[in-house]
Symmetry: C2
Subunit: 411 residues, 2 copies
């Protein structure tokens, strides 16, 4: 007779098992929030210390040349490009995801004269929608944001659609858009598509070039493990770069920044989407995370992501359904991002009780408990244990304690 | 008979002399470029390491609450406010100087309907002018940028002037605008003024509230010693905050960012000028620099800045005028910023030769050699020695070597 392998068995043969030791992970914690803030790579502290002590402290201003600080946004961008199916020179690291959204939304509206609609879905990550509002207000209110439910979105693309803005992996549900199909449908109607890869890059396979994608942005501090508030990235397909004009034409995107001339002239290529001076400490932190991610086999990451999710969904369903916990998003076996969410009316308090027990996920209003499953540093045994603790917390009613009901600033 | 005190005598009685040991300074270097990248405070490496190892590494996502990452932009902003004559709640740290310029230029244009001119001076710091171009392009080209020479600027302010945008201390010449007089003249005509304090904050006295200033931005990595690419700050007078609308309404500036609602609603107060997630490593580096600056007596800093400039100008004039070196900007005794610039047709090569001798200043096209005089970590003896080395380099013609003529990426 055959038996199912235990979680420990699966960890013992996990192709990615050596990566866990490349991260700092606190004792007594099962960290299921790497989709909000990725864990600290072991190499980061030393690299940041070197940047601070040797490069800043001793080489001072000379490091812009001597340590190629000036080339870092493009250098790290080209590394990220390899993770998302883009070419070197199509990705640059800059600013925040929000600011990069604004750059590319404004660029797209300006490049699509006569088209006045930006299409997205209700419940998209808020800042994506806010930056559309911002772009519309900045450019004089001639455009409109249309929010169309997911199942009707493709048919809503028409000749008035300037831009379709979607988050590839939904931040709450882990639903995944078919990037190739949406891109093709939009381009057939003459619209552009801007993909937010914040919950995709480093988490699941992304093939921007293979999908003939136009534009994308993404986050550095989630699955790329770049550190809190690490700068974000943006992608512009090479075919679009020369015709797009950033609304934030700062000196770092100038053709000759160190000529210090009065008039703006956009740099060739992706560099024109830079604006101000990059925050080097945070940018170098991101580079360490990206370098580590590049060491991992991307097919193995995708396979383990699916397997961790399948195990977690199965265990939580078996243990917690009777307490009213309900899976949100793709059912087992369907394409998904690398996090799993469950709904419960007491989701906030349950999550606080889990955190008190060392199982760290996060809460997304109004009732979503979200668990990030990061293949590089999570074990099958971690995911199994997290489900067991959730059952405990629910069975004992531990979440009903007053202390777990006080809302914190960041939830 | 009396004798002038020597530079060493002056260092021995310098009220700020203990601050030099609070910075890491390389052996054999006289660092006169703290106006481009401030030196590394001794405390920074430890604080950044703690942020990385303890806060990120061990507390992980919990640090947004537990270590008040979420409050850091306002906390550090309120500290900077004390350096520039503003109230807590009028300053916030965010993004880059360029991005903050865009926010406030766009806000001001929107708040001044019917006024269509932005007034500045030719040769202002390039990104300031570029961001005006950007704002005009974003908002539909209904405005114009008018560049008026410094001595005619006040009389050019008229009923069509929406905004006057000036750098308080000129980045090349160290010329200083009379903030109170310009602000009064502009406000009398109904215009707003946006001050770029990049070369002022931490360098010379600034009294935004005392001047009834409207708006300001500034840089974190120059005289505030925040580290390469440290985030920037912005100031909005409390009387303007509720009526100004940022063009970059991202989720961190939302009234309830963690409600994750589809529609944007601006936070009350200065927080609405936040956009995306702040780069925490770089932001904490800035806080260390600002904390150190707050320890210093601001009158002593101003006094020493003037004295260092007077000594450097006198020595360079006496030693180098015969080689064609010419002072740029305010003459000795006149109000000035905390850097001194000289013009020479071979300025680039001379600066490279100085750097090779350990005297680090920088070059600004087409012919300006610029020397930052930072009272916290420079000695009178340093400034004296720098002038002596410049004389040497010129007398020996050392700058004529081929190696000093090759332009680097960053100059």
């Amino acid at each position: 007779m055959t038996t199912h392998p235990t979680p420990a068995d699966r960890d013992a043969t996990d192709a990615l098992r050596t990566f866990r030791d490349r991260f700092v992970l606190p004792e007594g914690v099962i960290y299921l929030d790497g989709n909000s803030l990725g864990a600290l790579p072991v190499a980061t502290a030393g690299r940041v210390a070197d940047l601070v002590n040797a490069e800043w402290g001793l080489s001072l201003i000379r490091s812009w040349n001597a340590h190629d600080w000036i080339g870092a946004p493009q250098r790290v961008g080209s590394k990220i490009a390899r993770l998302i199916g883009a070419q070197s020179g199509e990705v640059v690291v800059a600013d925040s995801t929000s600011v990069n959204l604004y750059k590319l939304i404004m660029s797209a509206l300006q490049a699509q004269p006569g088209r006045r609609t930006v299409l997205s879905e209700p419940g998209n990550f808020p800042t994506d929608l806010y930056m559309v509002e911002s772009a519309i207000a900045s450019s004089g209110g001639q455009h409109r944001l249309s929010l169309v439910p997911r199942d009707q979105l493709l048919s809503a693309i028409d000749d008035d659609t300037a831009l379709v803005l979607l988050t590839h992996v939904h931040y709450k549900t882990a639903d995944v858009w078919d990037m190739g199909a949406v891109t093709a449908a939009a381009q057939e109607r003459g619209a552009m598509v801007l993909w937010d890869l914040s919950h995709s890059a480093g988490a699941i396979p992304v093939d921007l070039n293979g999908c003939h994608a136009d534009l994308a942005v993404g986050c550095g501090y989630k699955f790329l493990n770049g550190g809190p508030g690490a700068p974000a990235f943006l992608y512009v397909a090479s075919r679009h770069q020369s015709r797009l004009q950033t609304p934030l034409g700062g000196w770092m995107g100038h053709k000759r920044p160190f000529d210090f001339v009065d008039g703006y002239e956009a740099a060739p290529g992706i560099a024109r989407f830079l604006c101000g001076t990059p925050p080097m400490l945070s940018l170098i932190g991101l580079e360490v995370g990206v370098d580590l991610m590049l060491e991992a086999d991307r097919e193995a990451v995708a396979t383990k992501s699916r397997a961790l999710a399948a195990l977690f969904m199965a265990e939580v369903s078996a243990r917690c359904t009777r307490f009213g916990v309900e899976l949100v998003g793709p059912p087992p076996g369907a394409p998904r991002g690398s996090h799993v969410s469950f709904r419960h009316p007491e989701g906030y308090a349950i999550m606080q009780a889990l955190i008190a027990r060392g199982v760290i996920g996060d809460f997304r209003a109004p009732d979503i408990m979200r668990f990030g499953l990061t293949p590089l540093y999570l074990r099958y045994a971690d995911v199994y244990e997290a489900a067991r603790v959730m059952e405990d917390v629910l069975a004992a009613g531990a979440y009903q304690a007053e202390e777990f009901r006080v809302r914190k600033a960041v939830t």
